[in-house]
Amino acid sequence: MKIDRKEVLHIAELSRLTFTEEELDAMGEQMGSVLEKFRRLDEVDVSDVPPTAHILPFVNVLREDKAAEPMPREELLKNAPESDGSAYIVPKVLE
């Protein structure tokens, strides 16, 4: 089941991605087949399984409110594609 072009374009826009015509077609096919695989989950009978928000049997994994040294800025920005030494620089975005 192919995802239609309109949907692919919408998701691409939300992700700020651009695709060529061919890529759009291929993307529709691939996303469709991923969804198809997940659709198999609908076939499982879960009527006797209680709903849960998480697959692991843990709750309240909490940290005490203590501040620690942040990362040195130089190191933090080391892998940034662009920075001015104090801030990350990204293409101009309008609010």
């Binding site: 826009e13 939300l14 909490l62 005490e64 409110d65 942040p70 990362m71 801030a87 101009k92 975005v93």
Partner: protein, 477 residues
Amino acid sequence: MTADYEITIGLEIHCELKTKSKIFCSCPNTFGGEPNTHCCPVCSGFPGVLPVLNKTAVEYTVKAGLALGCDISRYSKWDRKNYFYPDLPKAWQTSQYDLPLCRGGGVAFKGADGEDKFVRLNRIHLEEDAGKLIHEGGVTRVDYNRCGVPLMEIVTEPDLHSPEDAVAFLTELKNILKYTGVSDVKMQEGSLRCDVNLSVARKGGPLGTRTETKNLNSFRSVLRSCKYEAERQIELLESGGEVVQETRRWDDAAGEGSGMRGKENAHDYRYFPEPDLMPVVMSDEDIERIRATIPALKQQRIDKYTAEYNLSDYDAALITADVAIADLFDGTVAEGANPKKAANFIMGDVMRLAKEPGSEDVNIKITPAQLSAMLSLVEQGVVSLVAVQKEIFPKVWGTDADPAAVVDKLGLRQSNDTAEIEAAVKEIMAANEKVVNDYRSGNTKVVSFFVGQVMKATKGKANPKVVNEVLSRLLKG
């Protein structure tokens, strides 16, 4: 025209919590700082990092919820709100979608028309604040210091019907939050911000289409943007147009709002459960333990001040208008000061210095012990109240000085020496025989002239009580 319409307003209030560290990492939660100096791989969205939830952020949200009469969720969870924008480096905001920490509750307040009103709350959830973008010179600079600061979002029901009431409600909400101590609620520093949902409808008609105006950071801009948006929608409808559901921004300098472009307006957050965080479960004991940490709120203190201390409703309202003032008052009384005298001094002298011009914030720079010591010096007749107000208090403010030491340093110790005062009075009477005769022929008002002269001669140190006593005795002749 406007009278034919009813305005409906609902608010979303964002409130930064005053924790020591951020919500999912241990970077310091402090305002400002050089860009990107309060950051680590977690809050900067490096790949492969894992968040660990701050216990105090959860407890503060529950504390605020309890103060606002909310039901606290026994089971709540975390979700990813997906959007691609550089203020959140992960491309999602960790938030709460269908199982928030608090539900329901509400705020009672006095409306702008003097009527008692109530706004219901829909929910309070906890999330992470976003970073700051600085647009300049054709590029956007990104500072993640604020990214990951615990942010509580309070969502009201659409129970407000005028811009003025929106501000009256916000004032009361801010007050309650400040009393609980979970946030600084400083609008200027952005620790309290507000989004406004507003629609208009013909009276008796169905609700209109709403718009959302984002990120208002002062009461004034809430008021102005609400008025602007209500008028805009009414004019649109009157001219046969339709209101489009959209997100809008407010330009406070220009005094006008504008719609965001379609692309920025496209919201499709594709929420899904956050796999990296475990649910939070609250027991009744947890909730009661947190409830016990809520200090006496405004109304409880007003009741105490009027019943136990005999303060007027007006005075009690003034003192409780800000929790910092109320705390100073309580502390000063606990140090042994007379409540009425402490109240008067706080309402006059302290408030004058504590309120910074153009700010809604109050900064107290005196301790209850210092204030109580000053009042006690007056009580014991060591100094006059005027000397405290004019000389001592301004010198003590903002320092850790001992008021008694300031009195000695400035040589302001009041003179109770009757003989010395008598000598001064006699000298002045001798030099002003005509005024003395005026007094003796019945013009007793001239006594104030003598009081003034004696004070001048003793450099304000003479105890006014003694001066009056000496004067009335000697003037009678």
